[in-house]
């Protein structure tokens, strides 16, 4: 099991955590050329790095990044690799690497699809998939000593990193909504509830 990340030096900390939790090795893909990368570039970078790793059965992704909230990278990596994309997986029912097959439950708005797919595949998971384990003492010791190799753009045969197609010229704080909370008070819960219900109806909320 290999932990892989594209990012600046700081991403090393996340990879160390992955090692402490039980990953066998970690690789950081980092290059100044990736600094303004959009999802097209990141997905290409990851796909090239995965190809360089060689024999891979499954690539797991989280649902979305906590900063950019994009949530499309797994699908883009799957597309670039030409592997099936299994998105928002809540459970793995069967896994048979020898037969090259996997059965997963993927979350949809109205329920769950049970999907059988061939391997290799790209899987993005939702939190129901499991409880993350705690790093073990041995794991933390191992992680602190581990050498994490850094692959540059050239190392993964991206001689030219494409320019991003998306531009985000403006980043700004959402307009402050001056919302004064109207506290509903009363002597009994019934009185408070009645006042609240009346206010909601007066304001045409319901």
């Amino acid at each position: 099991m290999t932990a892989l990340s594209v990012g600046p030096e700081e991403a090393r900390e996340a990879l160390k955590q992955a090692l402490a939790m039980g990953c066998d090795e970690a690789i950081l893909v980092s290059d100044p050329a990736f600094e303004s990368a959009d999802s097209l570039v990141v997905s290409q970078t990851l796909a090239k790095a995965i190809a360089k790793l060689g024999e891979v059965d499954i690539v797991f992704f989280g649902r979305q990044a906590v900063d950019s909230d994009t949530g499309v990278t797994y699908a883009q990596v799957a597309r670039r690799l030409g592997w099936p994309s299994l998105a928002l997986v809540a459970a793995i029912q069967e896994l048979d690497p020898a037969a090259g097959s996997i059965v997963v439950e993927r979350m949809l708005d109205s329920g769950r699809q049970v999907v059988r797919s061939r391997l290799p595949a790209v899987v993005s998971v939702v939190k129901e998939i499991n409880e993350p384990r705690y790093p073990s003492f041995m794991g933390i010791r191992k992680a602190s000593r581990a050498e994490i190799p850094v692959w540059s753009a050239a190392d993964i045969e991206m001689a030219e990193v494409p320019q991003p197609v998306l531009a985000w010229p403006e980043v700004f704080a959402p307009p402050k909504v001056e919302r004064e909370c109207e506290f509903i008070e009363g002597d009994t819960p019934e009185e408070i509830a009645a006042k609240l219900a009346d206010r909601l109806i007066e304001e045409k909320v319901i």
Binding site: D69, D109, K127, W168, F183, V205
Partner: protein, 346 residues
């Protein structure tokens, strides 16, 4: 040049969520500003009825692809078809409602067309003939405006961020059937599990949510056969959520939950509202026993009216609330259910 705006009409089992029609409406607005037309793309099996609906909601043209192989959503054949149609039609933009499926599809199509994807946009405008999309980042703490220098700009639109257009039965449009040839897909759908009955969170006009506080009713005594402390807590929480469900029922509302409540095992993840759950924007959001952590606010702060019921007057949820009650939810919620029942004649 007359620009084309393409809209992918997301549907499941022949039913399109309101967000699909909101996307058609947003496309209509863009088409008016750019001087162009709206094309709706509908894929599935037995989904012809949606084509007429798309026209009534504002499409000038519908490209309808019906095939047994498109019955179940699978990303690969859907993406192949969508990319092919986009190559043929060369639209300036491809709009979709935000859902788990369409995010996946949008990402894939963007790779095929080597173009940019802006997920979960909340506003669109036209500047110098180009589309500028606003979307939240960092859990809604910041907004960014994005432009794309390649065509089409692929966008998914947040549910309820754009008004749903009025259906107009007199609108005219053309429906063209698209030829479908599907290669063997790498995956097959072998089963389906329906979600529990109830109103879908993403489309709900009213949501009643519970947080960690729903387990804190001291006046309840768990039955003696439950002696594990954790199980007792969950039992208490379930009694709390029963009150929330009763209120939701009176309002025809969906039931939501905070991450804390889901992590504690009180209610399944499919109810979670927040950055790592569903992002919702109802007309009315009633938060019961939810403190208002940033991750929860990210999922509901754009609700039109927020009502917060919490014991702690300092809870951050009150900072986004229009109406607040500092009190015991186990007393307030049932009283509110009763008061609303009387007033709404139920």
């Amino acid at each position: 040049m007359a620009e084309k705006i393409y809209v992918y009409v997301d549907q499941e089992l022949g039913h399109a969520p309101p967000a699909s029609w909101e996307a058609v409406g947003a496309a209509r607005t863009l088409a008016a500003e750019l001087g162009g037309s709206v094309t709706a793309l509908i894929f599935g099996e037995g989904v012809e009825a949606l084509a007429q609906q798309a026209i009534e909601f504002g499409a000038d043209e519908v490209l309808l692809a019906e095939d047994a192989a498109l019955k179940d959503f699978r990303p690969e054949p859907y993406a192949d078809l969508l990319a092919r149609l986009a190559r043929e039609g060369e639209p300036i933009a491809l709009l979709m409602p935000t859902s788990g499926r369409s995010r996946e599809l949008a990402g894939m199509v963007a790779v095929d067309l080597e173009t940019g994807v802006t997920p979960d946009a909340i506003a669109l405008e036209v500047q110098d003939g180009a589309i500028v999309a606003t979307r939240p980042i960092y859990a809604g703490k910041l907004l960014t405006k994005e432009t794309c220098r390649t065509r089409p700009h692929v966008l998914t639109l947040r549910s309820r961020a754009f008004p749903k257009p009025e259906a107009d039965a007199s609108r005219q449009g053309t429906v063209s059937r698209v030829e479908v040839s599907i290669e063997a897909a790498p995956s097959e759908v072998v089963g389906y599990k329906e979600a529990e009955a109830g109103v879908s969170l993403s489309d709900a006009a009213v949501i009643v949510s519970g947080g960690r506080g729903v387990a804190n009713n001291p006046s309840l005594t768990p039955p003696p056969e439950i002696n594990d402390e954790k199980e007792q807590e969950i039992w208490r929480a379930q009694q709390g959520f029963a009150l929330i469900r009763e209120l939701a029922e009176v309002l025809g509302a969906a039931v939501g939950a905070s991450r804390a409540a889901v992590d504690a095992g009180y209610i399944p993840y499919s109810h979670q509202v927040g950055q790592t759950g569903k992002v919702v924007s109802p007309d009315l959001y009633i938060a019961c026993g939810i403190s208002g952590a940033i991750q929860h606010l990210a999922g509901m702060r754009t609700s039109k009216t927020i009502v917060a019921i919490n014991k702690d007057p300092e809870a951050p949820i009150f900072k986004v609330a229009r109406f607040g009650v500092v009190g015991d939810l186990f007393q307030i919620v049932p009283a509110l259910t009763k008061a609303l029942k009387e007033r709404l004649g139920k």
